[in-house]
């Protein structure tokens, strides 16, 4: 290629990237909708393809697969909100009673007596703790109201994602064919291979993640049930397990997010319970309100997931070095927050496939 032409192309690319960067914020909701629709399509594509062979209608297959998934989702969210409401109601009733104030007072004194003197200033007074608990509840209600306020926008996005997913699932193979029309003859076979490899990379990663998340959820539920057997008094066990499984989709940070609801609920349920406060792990390490038991349980679940389940179900599908994983997670988190962290690994996996094909083309251009 003429060097001047090369410079022009690079300049054009830079200008286009800059313009893209400027207009990106205006299109970011649309891009997000498209990314989510594409990811959902990748998750459901195989099931729809499989079902289509039996019901002989793609539309019917899409309706069946999505209908079932949406029903399960609604059932889960509905019963979760219901149980959470009940949990908050019970806790708020507990706060109103005088026994709660006495329990918090006792707790504060006990902690102060257990800690060395110079730590005493750090332990808040019982009045402050009660105020904090009340504020915590008010905050929850305020957050719920704020959520309802922005629910309109959220529902619109969810609806659009659903519509795009349905269209993509029904027309997926035709869309792919139309895309292939733009590939020059020279690159046809290599282009098809790249598309196939990208599809495989994404669907393998997603299916692996879903399997890993399910196993983390099941293991967490089993763990929490065991803790309840020794008197931890943790409610909403199944929901906590599912949240831990979902949080596990975000690597590195997810597992810590998973244990927060369990710890909060055990504190809510056990305030005033003498035996729960003076609980010891293996009769050696003090673990008030079973907090360290919960942390230990989640660490064990994580170890089982990291060492046995994830290598088995995800394996070498992404094949990224742990160092690269950490770097892309930080970059994704900085650019887009938790969503960025969620997409960082599969996006890097796709980039890796594309780079591999580009290197192959540049090395073997004489064959094309």
């Amino acid at each position: 290629m003429d060097p001047l032409q090369k410079i022009y192309r690079i300049l054009l690319l830079l200008i286009l990237s800059y313009l893209g960067w400027i207009v990106l914020p205006f299109f970011s909701p649309l891009i997000l909708i498209l990314i989510f629709s594409f990811l959902l399509t990748s998750v459901f594509l195989q099931s729809v393809d499989y079902l289509e062979g039996y019901v002989k209608s793609r539309t019917l297959g899409v309706v069946a697969v999505l209908g079932l998934s949406i029903s399960v989702g609604i059932l889960f969210i509905g019963s979760f909100l219901n149980s959470l409401g009940m949990q908050i109601k019970t806790f708020s009733n507990k706060i109103q009673k005088d026994t709660f104030a006495i329990a918090v007072e006792n707790l504060s004194t006990k902690i102060k007596s257990l800690l060395p003197e110079f730590f005493n200033n750090l332990v808040p007074d019982s009045d402050k703790v009660i105020l904090m608990a009340k504020n915590f509840l008010v905050n929850i209600f305020q957050n719920v109201l704020a959520l309802l306020g922005s629910a309109g926008n959220f529902i619109f996005i969810v609806f659009m994602v659903l519509v795009f997913t349905i269209i993509l699932l029904i027309e997926y193979h035709d869309f792919k064919r139309s895309l292939v029309l733009f590939i020059p003859n020279k690159y046809l076979e290599i282009g098809l291979r790249t598309i196939y490899n990208v599809e495989q990379q994404i669907s393998k990663y997603l299916r692996g993640q879903i399997l890993a998340a399910s196993s983390v959820a099941i293991l967490s539920i089993i763990g929490l049930f065991i803790l309840n057997k020794v008197g931890a008094n943790i409610t909403l066990v199944i929901f906590i397990g599912i949240i831990a499984g979902l949080a596990n989709l975000i690597p590195m940070v997810g597992p810590f997010i998973g244990m927060i609801p369990a710890i909060l609920i055990t504190i809510m349920n056990n305030v005033g319970n003498e035996s729960a406060f003076s609980h010891y792990i293996f009769n050696i390490i003090p673990s008030p309100f079973f907090i360290f038991d919960i942390i230990l349980m989640f660490i064990v679940v994580q170890q089982i997931d990291n060492n046995f389940i994830t290598p088995l179900v995800i394996g070498e599908s992404v094949g990224l070095h742990p160092m690269i994983v950490m770097i892309v997670l930080i970059v994704g988190g900085t650019l887009m927050g938790p969503l960025g962290m969620l997409f960082a690994i599969p996006a890097t996996g796709v980039l890796k496939v594309l780079l591999r094909e580009i290197i192959f083309i540049s090395k073997n251009s004489h064959l094309l």
Binding site: G53, R177, E189
Partner: protein, 160 residues
């Protein structure tokens, strides 16, 4: 107006050239019209100029081609040996549907040609979407390759 007329009053028994070509290919033999339509939906129709390569020797192989119109020469680029001259309705490169070995010869268009490409990824999609149809194609493909092997054996015996 013509587009609207064609859309609303299109003939029901429109003969699709891709379907008629595909049903004559041994790999798609004994398939129902509906099954052929399912295959046609996955294939890629491409136009090639005269002297344009369809693929070069040693290039990564992803699938087979069926000639709709035109003429294709299969040759060894180094020695210039021509292995076959193929015309409308012929097919080539079918081995690539099964293995991932590079192309053993080059395919070049002698005249402007129109080809249908059917690739390994399409076959895998077909096996996923319509397992029964996928099995039929695989069986036909094995039959074609078996016949080729038998012919090669005969040629070897003859040359001895």
């Amino acid at each position: 107006m013509e587009a609207i007329y064609k859309n609303f009053f299109r003939e029901q028994n429109n003969i699709d050239p891709i379907l008629t070509t595909l049903e004559r290919i041994p790999i798609f033999e004994n398939l129902l019209k509906k099954e052929l339509k399912n295959i046609a939906q996955l294939t890629h129709e491409r136009e090639y100029k005269s002297n344009e390569y369809v693929f070069k020797k040693h290039a990564p192989a992803e699938g087979m081609y069926v000639i709709l119109h035109g003429e294709i020469e299969i040759k060894d680029p180094k020695s210039g040996n021509i292995f076959a001259n193929l015309h409308s309705g012929d097919f080539f490169g079918e081995l690539a549907l099964l293995d991932e070995e590079p192309r053993s010869a080059s395919a070049i268009c002698n005249v402007p040609s129109r080809l249908i490409g059917f690739f390994r990824t399409d076959l895998l999609t077909l096996i996923n979407r319509y397992p029964e149809l996928g099995n039929k194609i695989l069986l036909n493909l094995s039959r074609v390759l078996g016949e080729r092997l038998r012919e090669t054996n005969k040629n070897i015996i003859k040359s001895k």
